[in-house]
Symmetry: D2
């Protein structure tokens, strides 16, 4: 199943009609890396929110993780809609996603020692943040 | 049913634990207005995407509307998670939402004459954009 | 702002191309009521999840509310995509939404006495459940 | 990046507090396979909707793909919230997801010959449908 999933992403990107859009000059390898990192962060944050829910004092962690999942998911979907792509909309959303990943990573790092879930969520947030930064650089 | 929905929003906001958060000094009327405008924009954009899908040449309109719906929804949810609120995460997301609302409004205005759906979507985008701007100002 | 939001829903539904779809014979008043109830439930559940997130022993409440919000939102969006509508896909999703609303309502009712947020969330879940049931009946 | 994503899913599942929940007896390998298939289907359907958006006559394909993405995403998230898990809520949502995957697959297969995107979307829908069926069987 995992092979199928990865195959789909790479193969499907080839069939996306990038030529007709403002993003024809996009670095596709960088964009795919950013999609994958956003997707992994969405999964990690969702699991973190689902796991820490109801633990005393973890309200900020749960809420940040839930919101970070939403934003990474939206960021990924933007990169899957070639006709809607433009620097005007993508650059601010990349900034917003990086800011949220940073906040969620910082919070989860506070309890990474006692929670393996939080430690892995923080790692996924950092990877997504770096991938969004690389994507931003490639568009500048 | 409509009265119930509006009642819930106003009443439930009173029960949100804002006091314990960085947003204790938030202007609640401005925030509620922003939530309502983001929600209305999410609905209008979803209907626009669902209505224009498959119309020749409307790919940009459909994709922008679908992405604008996602972002407005996420923006609204952020305002419903008091423990995750901070200027660090909300200000960039307000910027990103405004940029997407502007792009979607501009695109939908191009065919507002021939499509009532697009005209109303553009109006909802404009209202959300203005509410996000007011929210940004109230936090500055 | 509230008037605008409600106006949009009613007005935009008129511009949706229902005639070309399998749902031409749909009771539009019942469908709009269902959309509004699902939207209100999505808002109430999101606020409930955001409010109870870090309260000890509230993990089930938070997780059910977050999932109920997702499902009500998806249910509403299905009703905004006329070209994707069919009894084959809508009937099972109505069933799934009703089951989740029931579970979330039952859980939130357990602490309705001590939490106004939960009490209102339970009410919104019940309203959405009843609106989905009415929608199901209208399609049978 | 891809290795990291897959590692996260497997590793994070180990740290999820399944023991305390109704799902302690769940077959974790089957559940992870279902999560991965739902995630891959969400990605494939999102790309399909984003690619076909403005092609004449593809409205049904675009709308079904967008809704199938929403449902697969919600289905996956349900499996990441152990405290909300119960047969009462998961069984109907598995049914609803299978029904939507079937509808989207059938539609995309109609134009698989002329669109590589649709062909891959249909394959991802079929894989998700089968994974949901396997998950349903494991819970019965």
């Amino acid at each position: 199943m995992k092979e199928l999933a990865v195959m789909n992403m790479t193969e499907m990107m080839k069939s996306m009609p990038m030529d007709d859009t403002a993003m024809a000059s996009m670095d596709m390898a960088v964009m795919q890396e950013c999609m994958e990192a956003c997707n992994a962060c969405m999964q990690a944050c969702t699991m973190c929110a689902g796991t820490m829910a109801g633990m005393e004092g973890m309200g900020k962690c749960v809420s940040l993780s839930a919101m970070c999942a939403e934003m990474c998911q939206t960021m990924m979907k933007m990169m899957m809609h070639p006709m809607a792509m433009s620097a005007d909309t993508m650059m601010p959303m990349l900034q917003a996603t990086m800011a949220m990943c940073k906040a969620c990573m910082d919070e989860c790092m506070l309890h990474a020692d006692m929670s393996e879930t939080c430690r892995m969520c923080a790692m996924a947030c950092e990877a997504a943040m770096m991938a969004c930064e690389k994507m931003t650089a490639s568009m500048s």
